[in-house]
C-alpha cells in the first residue's frame, strides 16, 4: 500500500468505518420504509447485535464469522417478537412498539452486570474492519438492487403506495411486513457487530432514541426510490459534521438546517430516481 494512502486511512479510519456502518444502517431502514412501514427500532437492533457480538467475542472467544451470525439472529428474533403482534395493525403502532423495545433494551443494558452496566463493554478486540464492513455494504446493496427490480420489489412499492389495494390483489401483507422487519433487524445487528469490533467500546446510550432518529434521517434525506438513496443519505449525514467542523459551535445548527431544508424542498429525497423494472414499459412478463 502506498504510504500516502496508508496515512490517509490511518487519519480518517474512524470516519471511514462510520461511513460503511451507517450505510448498512441506512439500508436496514430502507427495507422497512420501502413497503410503507415505519420502524424506530433500528438503533435497538443495532445495539442488540453489538452487545451479543461483543459478549461472544470477549467472554467466549468464538470465531468472528460465528459471532456475526449470532449478531444477526438475535435481533431477528427480537423483530419477530415485536413484529408478529403489531404488524396486523397499521403504521404508527410498529413505530411505537419499536421505540418501546429500544427503551426496554437500553434499561436492561444499563442495569445488567453481564453487559457492564452504564459503563458498557470495553476492550473489544479489533476484528473485521474495512473489508468486512464494505464487503457487507456492497453485498447488501447489490442484493437490494436486485430485489427492487424484481416482482417482489414491485409488490413492495405497491404496498408503499396503497397497502389495501396491494392486499386486495393478493399480496400477503403480514408476511411481507414481517419479512422486511426481520431482514432489517439482521442488517442492523450486523452493522452493530461490525461497529463494535472496530470501536473497541460500546455503551447503552449509543443505541437510544437519538440514534434511531438519525438512522431514519439517512433514509429520508437520501430518498427511498432505490436502495442507493439511503446509502447516499448516510454518507452525506456522516460526512457533514466533519466538513462543518470549522463552524465549531454552530456545526449542529447548520447540520439540522440542512436536513430541514432537504425535507421541505426535496420530499422524495436527494435521489428521487426510482429503479427501472422488467416489464415496466410494456407489461410483457419476461
Amino acid at each position: 500500500m502506498p504510504e500516502f494512502l496508508d496515512d490517509f486511512l490511518f487519519t480518517y479510519q474512524t470516519l471511514i468505518y462510520a461511513l460503511g456502518v451507517n450505510g448498512l444502517l441506512a439500508l436496514s431502514m430502507y427495507v422497512v420504509l420501502a413497503l410503507g412501514q415505519l420502524s424506530l427500532g433500528q438503533a435497538a437492533f443495532m445495539g442488540l447485535g453489538a452487545y451479543v457480538s461483543a459478549l461472544l467475542t470477549v467472554k467466549l472467544g468464538l470465531p468472528f464469522p460465528l459471532v456475526l451470525l449470532a449478531a444477526m439472529l438475535a435481533p431477528a428474533l427480537a423483530a419477530l417478537c415485536v413484529g408478529a403482534p403489531t404488524l396486523r395493525l397499521s403504521g404508527v403502532y410498529l413505530a411505537l412498539a419499536t421505540i418501546g423495545l429500544g427503551e426496554v433494551q437500553r434499561i436492561f443494558f444499563i442495569n445488567s452486570e453481564l453487559t457492564g452496566g452504564a459503563l458498557g463493554l470495553s476492550g473489544i478486540p479489533t476484528k473485521g474492519g474495512l473489508i468486512s464492513i464494505y464487503g457487507s455494504l456492497a453485498l447488501a446493496l447489490i442484493a437490494f438492487a436486485f430485489v427492487a427490480r424484481s416482482k417482489i420489489g414491485r409488490a413492495m412499492e405497491a404496498m408503499r403506495e396503497d397497502e389495501l389495494a396491494a392486499g386486495a390483489l393478493g399480496v400477503d401483507l403480514p408476511a411481507y411486513k414481517l419479512g422486511a422487519l426481520v431482514v432489517s433487524a439482521m442488517l442492523a445487528g450486523l452493522a452493530g457487530a461490525l461497529n463494535a469490533h472496530v470501536s473497541s467500546f460500546i455503551s447503552p446510550n449509543d443505541y437510544g432514541f437519538d440514534a434511531a432518529v438519525t438512522i431514519l434521517s439517512f433514509a429520508l434525506l437520501g430518498g427511498i426510490g432505490s436502495p442507493f438513496g439511503p446509502v447516499l443519505g448516510a454518507f452525506i449525514l456522516t460526512l457533514l459534521p466533519e466538513v462543518l467542523r470549522p463552524l465549531a459551535d454552530y456545526k449542529t445548527v447548520v447540520n439540522g438546517s440542512i436536513i430541514v431544508l432537504a425535507v421541505i424542498f426535496m420530499p422524495r429525497g436527494l435521489l428521487a430516481w426510482r429503479m427501472g423494472r422488467a416489464g415496466a414499459a410494456t407489461g410483457r412478463p419476461k
Binding site: 416482482k151 414491485r154 409488490a155 412499492e157 405497491a158 403506495e161 396503497d162 389495501l164 389495494a165 396491494a166 392486499g167 386486495a168 390483489l169 393478493g170 399480496v171 400477503d172 401483507l173 403480514p174 426510482r274 423494472r277 416489464g279 415496466a280 414499459a281 410494456t282 407489461g283 410483457r284 412478463p285 419476461k286
Partner: protein, 244 residues
C-alpha cells in the same frame, strides 16, 4: 375446495354486520346473494354502507357478525390475499391505482398471484384490447392519467386476475359523462361474456339498467330487493334515487 352446486349462489351474505369500532355499526344485518353469471347492483345514498360491505368482502374489514360465503366457503375475516386467491377481486373506489408505477406495472400487479407468464401475457393483451386508451399510454405513470382512465386502469388491473367474481366500487364516481357511458358500456360487455359482477353505484339509473338483480341499501340495512327492472319502477326508488 368444493365447487358450488348450480343452485347455490356464488356469493352469499347472511345477516352481515360490520362496525368501525365503538358501538355504532355501519352495516346492520345485510343479507344478499349473487349467482354465477349475474350482475347484481347495490345502490344507496352516500354513507349507506356500500363501500363498507365491499371492503369486508375483500377482507379489508372484519365482519362483526353474520357470515359471508364465497364458492361455499366462509370468507368472513379471511386475509385479503387469500380471498383474492379464491377469485373474488375488487376494483376499489376512488380509483386506487399505484400512481408512481407505469400502466404496464399496474397491470402486472393485477396478475400478482399468477405464475404462468404466457397466461399473464394473454390476459394483458385481452385487457389492452378492451381498453385501447391504456394501450396507447402503457409506459406512462398511472398518476398522470385522467380520472376516467384511472378507473379503466383499476378495472383492467382487476381483470388481470381473471376473477370469478368482480367487485366494482362506484366505477362512475366523479367521472365526466362521456367516461361514465364508456365505463358502463364495458360493464355491459363483461356481462355479455358471462362474468359475475357485484356493482356498487350511486348512479342508480345506469346501475339498474345494466343489472339483473338489485338491492337498495339505506343506513346499513337492505330496504328493498328484487329484479332490477322491478326496482327501477318502484315508487320509493324513483323518488329517492332516480329523481322522479
Amino acid at each position: 375446495m368444493s365447487e358450488p352446486k348450480m343452485s347455490e349462489p356464488l356469493l352469499s351474505l347472511r345477516d352481515l354486520r360490520i362496525g368501525y369500532g365503538g358501538a355504532t355499526e355501519a352495516v346492520k344485518g345485510v343479507s344478499l346473494e349473487v349467482r354465477a353469471g349475474a350482475v347484481v347492483c347495490l345502490i344507496g345514498a352516500n354513507g349507506a354502507g356500500k363501500t363498507t360491505i365491499l371492503r369486508c368482502l375483500s377482507g379489508l374489514l372484519r365482519p362483526r357478525g353474520g357470515s359471508v360465503h364465497f364458492k361455499g366457503r366462509d370468507i368472513g375475516g379471511m386475509a385479503a390475499h387469500r380471498i383474492a386467491a379464491l377469485g373474488l377481486v375488487q376494483a376499489p373506489e376512488g380509483r386506487q391505482v399505484f400512481a408512481n408505477m407505469t400502466i404496464a406495472e399496474n397491470l402486472r400487479m393485477g396478475a400478482w398471484l399468477l405464475k404462468d407468464r404466457a397466461e399473464e401475457a394473454r390476459r394483458r393483451d385481452m385487457v389492452l384490447t378492451r381498453f385501447p386508451r391504456l394501450s396507447e399510454r402503457i409506459r406512462q405513470l398511472a398518476g398522470l392519467l385522467s380520472g376516467g382512465e384511472q378507473q379503466m386502469l383499476a378495472m383492467g388491473r382487476a381483470m388481470m386476475a381473471d376473477p370469478q367474481m368482480l367487485l366494482l366500487d362506484e366505477p362512475s364516481m366523479g367521472l365526466a359523462p362521456l367516461f361514465v357511458e364508456e365505463i358502463f358500456r364495458i360493464i355491459a360487455e363483461l356481462k355479455a361474456e358471462g362474468r359475475t359482477i357485484l356493482l356498487v353505484e350511486q348512479n342508480a339509473q345506469a346501475a339498474l339498467d345494466i343489472a339483473d338483480h338489485a338491492y337498495v341499501l339505506q343506513s346499513g340495512r337492505i330496504e328493498l330487493s328484487g329484479p332490477a327492472a322491478e326496482i327501477a319502477r318502484n315508487e320509493k326508488v324513483v323518488a329517492a334515487y332516480l329523481g322522479g
